[in-house]
């Protein structure tokens, strides 16, 4: 079966992300601090998880299988809903505690957005590995 054009195109954001991160690390005028390492590491983790799913999708299409079915859609829905709940808790934590420790709003917002991306990616990975049960009432 012909590999769908979309599957190959979906690699482009990951490649752009890797290039931008590399440029940021290489061209940074100042030494990277703890927050910088966290941002860098978190971004790499999100990109790696994204690449894992894209490669899985590509392998499915090479075998002549569909890349999206009822289970994959259910997994995405479950991961999204869980990620929303965890993200709300994360933002409450950031606003209550972190904002006093780190006064730079840009850093706080960046960490929050990165956190949301990480939460979703990890939830997606978790449900892909362990499945979604109809009896799951969490």
């Amino acid at each position: 079966m012909k590999i769908k054009h979309n599957s190959l195109v979906s690699f482009i954001p990951s490649i752009i992300g890797i290039i931008l991160l590399s440029l940021w690390a290489y061209m940074s005028k100042y030494p990277i601090d703890t927050i910088g390492y966290f941002i860098f590491g978190g971004s790499i983790l999100i990109i790696c998880i994204g690449l894992y799913f894209k490669i899985q999708r590509l392998n499915n299409e090479k075998s002549g299988l569909t890349s999206d079915d009822e289970l994959s859609k259910k997994i995405k829905e479950k991961a999204t809903s869980k990620a929303f709940i965890f993200s709300v808790y994360m933002w409450v934590f950031i606003i209550l505690f972190l904002i006093n420790l780190e006064p730079r709003v840009k850093i706080i917002l960046g960490l929050g957005l990165l956190g949301m991306g990480l939460i979703f990616s990890l939830n997606w990975l978790y449900y892909s590995k362990f499945g979604v049960s109809d009896e799951d009432t969490d």
Binding site: N60, G64, L65, D68, D69, E70, L71, S72, G131, D134
Partner: protein, 63 residues
Amino acid sequence: MKTRIKELRARDNLTQVELAQKVSVRRETIVFLEKGKYNPSLKLAHDVSKVFNMKIEEVFIMK
């Protein structure tokens, strides 16, 4: 929920990929079905049972 999919695949000499192709799902979905970790939709349960020429309740066994 228990399933007899693995046993029926072996009987009919079907791989997970071949079964997935017949019912238009991913291989991972077949893996989850075999482990009983996913309750399929009625349509998918019907399609899988049709592949093995059996009734739904003979392939998918509710505990």
